[in-house]
Amino acid sequence: MLKIGPQITPETESFWVGVQNGEFKLQNCKDCSKIFFPPRFFCPSCGDRNVNSFAASGKGVIYSYVINHRPRPDWPDEPYCVAIVELEEGIRLVSNIVNIEQTPDHIQIGMPVKLCFEKISEGIVLPVFEPVDDNVAGRN
């Protein structure tokens, strides 16, 4: 069974197409310059509709996380980490930490991570994160 992915809506299409093309798009307001996520056609700080998309740096740190031990029918195995990642741009979002053993000994709060991509089915790619340091313990 394939993992259940997002069902894209008109307001999020540009974001998810970006992800398929290897880009994580954030937005900012042309009026008040605030950066925001998830994607919208207006700025949630000032309500202005004049917004801009740009590719995020893809750099961030692990803000917090849990390691799920209960099976989820569409996921191949557990335990797996669900994390809040804080991007360099100040945005926090939910993602996974991959290419590292899924244990609290290896995954650390504050650990620098970088964007990578996981293809879960034809046409569906997810933005996930991996440790920046190739020599980090537990890297696989």
């Binding site: 993992k3 259940i4 992915g5 997002p6 069902q7 894209i8 809506t9 999020t12 998810w16 998830p38 803000y63 917090s64 996380y65 849990v66 390691i67 799920n68 031990h69 209960r70 989820r72 996921w75 335990p79 797996y80 669900v82 994390a83 809040i84 926090r92 979002l93 939910v94 993602s95 996974n96 609290p104 709060i109 879960i120 997810l126 996930v128």
Partner: protein, 382 residues
């Protein structure tokens, strides 16, 4: 204390709670409603306003034989009954209705006629959280906890203590689902659910219903039971369904602080005026956020406050005197049971009665950390 806004004149849980396989969610709504009506000395036709959690209020009204002039189906999760109360106060003041029935019924454990909870892959949660392995509240409500523990120096032992204290209360409640005393070691040796949360750090999954009846202060003394007065209500939202990542400060959430400020302001009271509190304990860390956000303690101090026995029986702030969602009951949307215990304490009807309670604060979360509701109730009145 300001003049009360309204009065609660009837309240009850479903006849059975915990494991109730012989009743559907709708049946639990109706059973609790009939018990609350009897408690208030009313018949269904005396009700002219209705609000329900986890059900369409028109459905519940039809089922009970009520023809409401006003209804509210605000559905923001576990805190919804407090929002219904807030809305009922306003509706009664506006003259839309006189006597409001607020119900909850949820076959959370037996899943008899329970609402389907299928994630919608196209909503915000479905696009931006669920694809990353969300597996119920245990993987969303808990997300900021590790960071909180690290920044505030809260050990797993201190988190475990919250569960231990909840059993000190539930042992005194004959209707509680889990009543055996537990130790910190037992909590920390229980099965891992989502690190660092173990089974005994998570709420129960039960069946149950609850209902209460709200009317104006001037009618309150016409009912058989002493009235419980509504001194203040507040609600607040900050993020989308299950989205703690998008709360401005996930460690000291602004929506809790805002609801706390507004509910105390509405009541004209301060933290030290509160004799008893019911604080939604979906997991062991959720009362910490609320004790701090509502101003009972400073940021980072709640775990020590609980560790030192302040919220336990005979403590300075008796909290979750049923055993709460961790040990008493948790149908999925727990808020109703918090409000009902506040009412019982103020009536002097609680099984673990706290002596001399004049004010009680009930606080609940909704859809993880997306919404909250708070109310301050009293038995003093004008």
């Amino acid at each position: 204390m300001r003049k009360p806004l309204a009065a609660i004149v009837g309240a009850a849980e479903s006849t059975k709670i915990g494991l109730v396989p012989d009743m559907s969610s709708l049946g639990l709504h109706a059973d609790a409603a009939l018990n609350a009506l009897r408690d208030a000395g009313l018949k269904p036709h005396d009700i002219d306003g209705i609000a329900c959690t986890d059900a369409n209020p028109a459905d519940v009204a039809f089922y009970l034989g009520i023809k409401p002039d006003w209804m509210d189906g605000t559905n923001v999760g576990g805190c919804a009954p407090i929002l219904h109360l807030q809305n009922a106060v306003a509706a009664i003041a506006a003259g839309y209705c006189k006597t409001v029935l607020i119900t909850h019924g949820e076959s959370g454990r037996s899943r008899q006629g329970a609402q389907l909870r299928i994630p919608n892959p196209s909503d915000l949660n479905g696009q931006f959280d669920f694809p990353f392995g969300y597996n119920g509240a245990i993987t969303s409500f808990t997300l900021p906890a590790m960071r909180y523990m690290k920044e505030c120096g809260v050990s797993e032992e201190k988190l475990a203590k919250v569960a231990v204290v909840s059993r000190e209360w539930s042992a005194k409640n004959s209707r509680a689902f889990a009543r055996d005393p537990i130790t910190i070691d037992q909590v920390l040796e229980s099965r891992m659910i989502a690190y660092p949360f173990r089974k005994l750090m998570c709420c129960l999954v039960t069946d149950g219903g609850g209902a209460f009846i709200v009317t104006s202060v001037d009618r309150a003394k016409d009912f058989p039971k002493p009235p419980v007065y509504v001194q203040g209500c507040a609600s607040a939202a900050e993020s989308y369904f299950t989205g703690p990542a998008y709360v401005g400060d996930p460690l000291y959430p602004e929506l809790i602080r805002r609801a706390g400020k507004n509910v105390f302001q509405a009541a004209g009271l301060k933290n030290s005026d509160i004799d008893h509190a019911m604080i939604y304990d979906a997991f062991v860390h959720t009362p910490l956020w609320a004790l701090e956000g509502l101003g009972f303690v400073k940021f980072g101090e709640a775990a020590d406050f609980i560790w030192d026995g302040n919220t336990a029986p005979n403590g300075s702030l008796p909290m979750n005197s049923t055993g709460g969602g961790l040990s008493y009951t948790h149908t999925g949307h727990y808020g109703m049971f918090a409000v009902l215990e506040s009412i019982r304490q103020l009536r002097g009807e609680a099984e673990a009665q706290v002596p001399g309670v004049q004010t009680s604060l009930a606080f609940a979360y909704g859809n993880v950390l997306s919404a909250v509701g708070a109310t301050i109730l009293s038995n003093v009145g004008e």
